[in-house]
Symmetry: C2
Subunit: 656 residues, 2 copies
């Protein structure tokens, strides 16, 4: 498409988009199922059918919703500080947000993916990527906390991530923006993109027992923008399919300059082969990288922050059998693999059709070296038709993402024409379409990226909400729409607002994980270095200008609750041990005058606030989480005296 | 009660509490209305009946829910940084979180109250208090943003706050913990509480047009712990009723030591009289205070942070007619005023009855100087019976808060016995009781603190959620329970989880405010000092080591998108102007390598990120809020060269 053609296309697309937004659909009419109320209502005291883990996008966090109710159970802090849960505020959690260039209080959590065993969610972990400072995170599904974060070197925008292989051997992360590899030689002119900018695809291994990450190896590729991807499964297990845009290798005004080619690519990677080469010692060790690896230990209740400086890189151009490019119309945003692994669906966001590729035909073409005559930067390019199963014709405008159900159907979101379209994976026939309010981005079918989708529910995650909910000023919540897909036609059940911008979600059956949810931390397994073993050991200790307060909390007092002999400028650490062992009995802690004075301490846990008092006086402290009838009485005072004062360090509770 | 008696009482109370939590009620049985699903379901495209503004407690924020659906429309950042909305991350919003002792990224937003005209919510503002660093905030109900924050001097824990007078003349804030007044003489022994610790009650005036705060005056009182309060209304307009605990003036182990007296107090304050004295020049000017006053301007799109150093203080002991103490059993947590203003309900959290005081009897007793013979630290103490309308007998264990409906009924929450009890304000007869799951703290009736409650819905805000929702590890969401109170008996309709810990809420009818909600910022009224007037003015400017990027954002490009000539250690400001003028078309901005790189820019607005690059290389930037089919193309690159490099400062888009 030439620039002028492109502009006409966009004008048409925009007109369609506006026609949807100009009228305010009441929604309660024909489109909504008559008994939607009963089908989404979960009576008090009963449980939802599914947990739905949802990415927060620019919030940097992950949210846990129930389906079909749409209720928000928990925001799990991952890549951003969270003033509700003290994530990034306590001394114990601060190291989790350290990177190779310091503490980063915010990031953009784009996608999530479940851990898998034999291609099915196994309920152990949820993986998530941060987009801006390239990182991967692992969330534990017993504690619903972030257990690990690892940074990804040589990467500019970790958007193409985290894609999990059939048995969680690897979580795969690829650069969105090609950039010069890390190191001092990266200071190059931006218009030297074609020579100097490279893509990197990272294979992060996952320990089967502990889940621990390690960057096994990276693949270096030509400069391209990588977008959403899928690991193969079933027949295509061992492969990876990455959508690529900007095959024009433009470095400016991508809106126009990266929309020139009629086809970009899906890159097919033989990762089992790459693993073989890596294990055989191929590739080069790059030692001018720096990346953080942070781990949270549930027994010491503390996090560690480590910097690593080496990564093994294999350049795909050095091997004949690692990477192949499948032409895909146009500026593809996703590559989705069907439950059997046979079909790979490309979604070109400027395309008016959906190409479906066949893994079998792809293998045949590779076996026969049935390639285009010209390579792309050294990589074989397949012939479009040689890999194609077929095209879904006239499906809508701007396909973005495709998920699958348990009956051989696919569901594709269309951003520009604001609809979800159901079609048959084999016959490619369009079976149903339903409008969304308004522009749908991602969509999610329960288990829709697994080998055996659960089906039943589909959620459309919509951008541009406008009048769907009571207005709340210029900033509006994004919106999810729940459809029942158990029948022939999709039925709209519910609109519910979401946190941040959900780019993807994973629904796990409640029965798979609910009984593994941890209720308390066992205080006998609390190995925190500054734990207080019961009230009798509560105390205050000074070492130079460092003062440590060993404090316990239990209904309804903090021990000690009177502290004197702190001096201006002291470095005071309140190590709070919650000695409760009852479910849902957290205590919080705050002290006046501490800039960052937030803690939320679960039963059996120890957490720490650092406080450097900057003036003299009496500073009250208190429990911040209403815990008992006498919660208001759960408080105390610290006296701060001038530097060099002779007020002795003392503490007591009740009696001196 | 002696300590031993107290412990027995608590053991009994705990036993009751445990008996409620030991079995898992399914809730779907007799207690839930048969057609609750229909009565809480809001079909897609339709609106909820009420906005419900809800305090976030230890999250520091405020949430906006819809009723009856329980859906969360927006978290309004107030006293904590918010990585979803860039609050406290952009240069423009950072000053809002400055205090007299620096930037405070977290606080504990305890209560909220609507602005009132003639005792009814007028839909202009919501006021909120922060508990730890004592502050008040004002939220604008056209933008749903925090417009103003003022710090409160002489205060330790601003929990007793923000109580609004009948026409929003004042928002009143009182100290939870008495402390020595601010200043260098505040370094005193903690066991000198009785001599040195004082309470302060602040009267913060509200400008009728702009809403702007000013601390008009403070009242100094004996050392006491102040708890929840209400301004008088109707017949009691001009008065304030503050619940007081720790009349024992203990400074340690309050759980026991502040639970000794059978009665504590409600303090009745004649604030109209105090205002008269203040206007007549009474009181003393205290000039050793320091407090912040921060304002956000919607035209310059920037905040200002100012430090003030003076406050006028009137000591109530210097006046005969400002303050009176009404004995109230036992450790009261609230004082709630009936719609007519005639009745004041005390809720003693260790009491087994509810005393209801009569404003008329109170006035008669004051007129007749019908006081106890002994004063309390110089303040007249009423005789209990002289002020008493009557007692609600055997209502439950541990009453906390009372709200009112439109039919002469009161509703009281009972934490220990986990129930809401409905009773007749005049006859004091108990009419109905419903269990809550589990321990209810606050409760809210729509308009229940106004002169004409809307009634219809009651929400119980419950602590200790345990098994009400699918479990999410040791940390669980608190829970709200929605009751229909339009009939004789309360009907449970819905459980929904909440953000943080909701200590109070205000329901406003959708029709009162929905049409005032702002859709976009008019770009012609954007007076930001670093606004970019259209793409033609987009540019990069250097002044020493300060580089300013004047950038525009509109679907689907950032201008400029190629920037070179930035040096390591430069102080780079990206001033992003969103030149869209369409509803719900925000753009975000992030750049790799910036620790704090979050922005979310509404149409017509300018927002700024500060970035000090710490290494050389190519740094991609991108729009973080999916805005169009070509959102993925909405990106660019910055080149950072070493300090002293001769790469010239340049920027372009599309063509050099």
């Amino acid at each position: 498409m030439k620039p002028k053609q492109y502009l006409l296309w966009m004008a048409a697309a925009t007109a369609v988009s506006l026609s949807f937004s100009a009228c305010r659909p009441k929604g309660a009419g024909s489109a909504v199922s008559g008994n939607a109320a009963q089908r989404t209502y979960v009576p008090p005291g009963q449980y939802d059918e599914f947990y739905t883990f949802t990415s927060g996008g620019f919030s940097g966090q992950m949210s846990v919703y129930g389906l079909p109710s749409g209720r928000l159970f928990r925001v799990i802090p991952v890549f951003s500080v969270d003033p509700e849960k003290a994530w990034g505020f306590s001394e114990e959690t601060k190291p989790m947000l350290m990177t190779s260039h310091g503490f980063v209080p915010w990031d953009d959590l784009h996608h999530i993916e479940s851990s898998f065993t034999d291609g099915m969610p196994d309920g152990k972990w949820i993986f998530a990527n941060s987009n801006n400072t390239p990182r991967l995170a692992r969330i534990d599904l017993t504690t619903y906390r972030t257990s690990e974060i690892i940074e990804i070197p040589n990467t500019g925008g970790n958007h193409c991530s985290p894609f999990t292989t059939e048995n969680s051997e690897y979580v795969i992360a690829a650069t969105r923006f090609s950039v010069p590899p890390d190191g001092p030689a990266s200071d190059v002119p931006i218009d030297s993109y074609k020579e100097n900018f490279k893509g990197h695809i990272s294979f992060v291994s996952v320990d089967k027992e502990t889940g621990e990450f390690d960057i096994a190896f990276q693949l270096k590729t030509p400069g391209l923008n990588f977008d959403l991807s899928s690991a193969g499964k079933g027949v295509s297990n061992g492969w990876l399919f990455i959508s690529c845009y900007n095959s024009e290798q433009s470095h400016t005004l991508l809106e126009v300059n990266a929309s020139q080619n009629d086809k970009d690519f899906i890159m097919a990677i033989n990762w089992k082969k790459a693993e073989e080469y890596f294990k055989a010692g191929k590739g080069t060790k790059q030692t001018n990288v720096r990346y953080a690896h942070n781990k949270y230990d549930e027994h010491t209740h503390t996090a560690t922050h480590e910097i690593k400086t080496e990564v093994t890189v294999l350049d795909v151009a050095d091997f004949d059998d690692l990477a192949y490019l499948i032409p895909c119309p146009k500026s593809p945003h996703g590559a989705d693999v069907s439950p059997t692994g046979e079909y790979i669906v490309g979604s070109g966001k400027l395309a008016a059709l959906i190409p479906v590729f066949s893994f079998e035909k792809l293998q045949n073409a590779i076996g026969n070296s049935d390639f285009e005559s010209e390579r792309y930067d050294g990589i074989p390019v397949m012939k479009y038709e040689s890999a194609l199963h077929g095209e879904v014709e006239k499906p809508g405008l701007g396909p973005l993402h495709t998920e699958f159900d348990d009956k051989g159907n696919a569901y594709t979101s269309f951003f520009v024409s604001s609809e979800v379209v159901k079609w048959d994976i084999k016959t490619l026939e369009v079976l149903d379409r339903q409008p969304t309010y308004y522009s749908v981005g991602h969509l999610m079918v329960a288990g829709g990226n697994s080998k055996k989708p659960y089906g039943k529910y589909l959620v459309a995650y919509n951008k541009i909400t406008k009048d769907r909910f009571l207005p709340t000023g210029p900033e509006l919540a994004h919106s999810a729409q729940l459809f029942d897909i158990s029948g022939d036609k999709m039925e709209l059940l519910l609109d519910f607002p979401t946190i941040g911008e959900p780019h993807y979600a994973q629904s796990l059956p409640a029965d798979l994980i609910k009984d593994k949810s941890l209720k308390i931390y066992d205080i006998n397994n609390n190995n925190h270095p500054f734990k207080t073993n019961g009230e009798a050991e509560a105390r205050v200790e000074r070492d130079g200008n460092i003062v440590r307060v060993y404090m316990t909390t239990i209904r309804s007092h903090l021990t000690p609750d009177v502290i004197e002999g702190i001096h201006q400028g002291d470095e005071v650490y309140f190590h709070i041990t919650n000695i409760e062992q009852d479910w849902d009995m957290p205590h919080g802690f705050a002290i006046k005058g501490a800039g960052n004075s937030e803690l939320l301490v679960m039963p059996g846990e120890t957490q720490t606030i650092k406080w450097v008092p900057d003036r003299v006086g009496i500073f009250p402290f208190y429990c911040t989480d209403f815990c008992s009838a006498l919660h208001q009485e759960m408080s105390g005072y610290v006296r701060v005296s001038p530097k060099g004062s002779n007020v002795a360090l003392t503490s007591y509770t009740g009696n001196k």
